[in-house]
């Protein structure tokens, strides 16, 4: 499209130029001497060759415009010089190559270039008029003509090139954006299918083992029961690991999104406590729940559940007797705190606690089965909600508190 317009107008330029030259030559009044016309025709043919044979063949597209621009300036200069007194009326011819550049652009940009070029040509004619500037000699007037032509040419060409480059960059960025969106969609689909394939055998293992564990499929001996309990705990761990790895993949693929709705935060906390009691039934840790009076809040309940479970799971690893989970209202939202009675956090670890694959020195001594991704995923989830997550040591060295705040809106 772009090349077609450019070529049509370029060819039109040459046709008009040649018609004018022959028109001038065969006018009844002798306007020019014969030599000038022949030199003019020879010059134009030379430039035509220069344009289409030399410049097009030798230079790459990006450099070609600059050489064409120089050739245009020289050609117009020669034309005006040879047309002598009538030269100034033919400046407008240069509108044709300008129009060629402008036609590639959108209407407003093309209009801008054409208007600027017109203003300069009018200005040039005004300056070169002997009547308006009495006392100026022909040399001075010719100097102005060349300077103005040079200025019009360079300015308009540069403007056209810049606008063209900006438009190309914009088109490329739209294309890139579209291809990124397509890639993200493919990744999302891939992750959905991967999770389906990974979860399907796991859900069957977990389900049957839970049935063996709770006696649905018959009574087990003490040793069998212990073995089944281990399998059950580890199948739940496996599901959680797959959850974590899929969350990380979604974060890296940029497809990690929230599915928000208005819900009571206390209901989410209750759900977490319920599932924790089921999976940690052999554990003797007491979980104290302190619930504040909270209105519904716009959150992704599954993701917030994942955060709370992660914080509780970490706290259980440290605590021997009791831990507390507390919900409360803040000035601009709601807060959840998980308070343990463990060994606390090493001062050097605070900075890296919420980084991926980081495992605190104190927790490595107690448990080496985690991936170091839980707190990182929790941070991403809370930040996606527009909230904050942090950790601090409790006063008097009594364990640590992990807390997060969610905005009301």
């Amino acid at each position: 499209m772009r090349n077609r317009y450019e070529k049509i107008v370029e060819i039109a330029t040459w046709i008009v130029l040649i018609i004018i030259i022959f028109g001038v030559r065969f006018l009844p009044v002798k306007l020019l001497d014969n030599d000038s016309v022949y030199i003019l025709i020879g010059g134009i043919v030379s430039f035509a060759l220069l344009y289409y044979l030399v410049i097009y063949k030798i230079f790459a597209r990006s450099k070609r415009v600059y050489f064409k621009m120089i050739a245009d300036v020289v050609l117009i200069g020669v034309l005006i010089h040879l047309l002598k007194d009538y030269g100034q009326y033919f400046f407008a011819l240069y509108f044709l190559p300008i129009a060629a550049a402008a036609l590639e652009l959108e209407f407003i940009n093309a209009l801008l270039i054409a208007t600027i070029a017109s203003l300069f040509v009018i200005f040039e004619i005004f300056l070169s008029s002997q009547d308006l500037l009495p006392g100026t000699n022909q040399f001075f007037s010719g100097g102005w003509q060349i300077a103005i032509i040079l200025f019009i040419t360079i300015f308009c060409r540069m403007l056209a090139i810049q606008i063209r480059q900006e438009r190309t960059a914009k088109e490329e960025s739209i294309l890139k954006q579209k291809s990124l969106e397509l890639e993200a969609e493919r990744q999302k689909e891939f992750l959905s299918l991967t999770s389906h394939q990974l979860y399907t055998p796991l859900s069957i293992i977990r389900g049957f083992v839970s049935m063996l564990n709770d006696g649905t499929l018959g009574k087990l001996s003490s040793k069998q029961s212990d073995a089944v309990c281990e399998i059950h705990t580890n199948s739940v761990r496996m599901v959680n690991l797959v959850d974590e790895l899929l969350s990380i993949s979604r974060i890296q693929a940029g497809t990690f999104s929230l599915d928000k709705k208005f819900i009571h935060l206390n209901e989410v906390v209750d759900g977490c406590i319920d599932s924790l009691c089921k999976s940690k039934q052999n554990n003797n840790i007491k979980i104290r729940v302190e619930k504040g009076d909270l209105p519904p809040i716009n959150i992704d309940p599954d993701k917030i559940r994942q955060v709370i479970l992660n914080l509780l799971d970490n706290a259980i690893k440290y605590t021997k007797e009791e831990l507390t989970i507390r919900t409360s209202a803040t000035k601009d939202g709601q807060m959840v705190e998980v308070i343990d009675q463990g060994v606390g956090i090493d001062e050097a670890d605070f900075e890296k606690l919420f980084q991926p694959f980081f495992r605190g020195k104190n927790i490595l001594e107690l448990d080496n089965k985690g991936t170091g991704l839980g707190l990182y995923i929790s941070r991403i989830i809370i930040e996606k909600h527009g909230g904050q997550i942090w950790a601090k040591n409790n006063p008097a060295g009594k364990g640590a508190t992990f807390a997060f705040k969610l905005p009301a809106m």
Partner: protein, 133 residues
């Protein structure tokens, strides 16, 4: 009380059916969508659990057909799948599913709890179990 489970994975059918039967619930099974719709029309179960990824007849299309049939459209249908909610939750909601459950997160006991609360749902028309995404 009758529950219909539509799933192409035989292990899943066996697992949930056995657990529901121990809770005194009759579990009907279908390994594909067409058979599922046929059983739903003939047996009129109280609750339907429906998988999404199945050969030939996708679970979401089955849901659409179940909800288009005036005889069975009032039966609560829970999608019970291993596809994450973010991929099909919205579609399921728009098609009239009562809930969206990820199998790996729901042990058979939790499914039994949902079936029990579905009985309450039938009486007072409040959506049971896990709220839909």
């Amino acid at each position: 009380m009758k529950v219909l489970i539509i799933d192409d994975e035989k292990g899943i059918l066996k697992m949930y059916s056995e657990y529901l039967q121990t809770g005194g619930i009759e579990a009907l099974q279908a390994t594909d969508g067409q058979a599922g719709i046929k059983i739903a029309k003939e047996q009129k179960p109280d609750v339907i659990f429906l998988d999404i990824i199945m050969p030939r007849y996708n679970g979401l299309d089955v849901l659409k057909d179940l909800k288009a049939d005036p005889e069975i459209k009032q039966i609560p249908v829970f999608l019970l799948t291993n596809l994450p909610a973010e991929s099909s939750g919205d579609k399921a909601k728009s098609l009239g599913a009562a809930g969206y459950l990820v199998k790996a997160q729901y042990e058979p006991k939790m499914i039994l709890d949902i079936v029990k609360s579905a009985a309450t749902y039938k009486q007072n028309q409040n959506p049971p179990g896990e709220p839909i995404k």
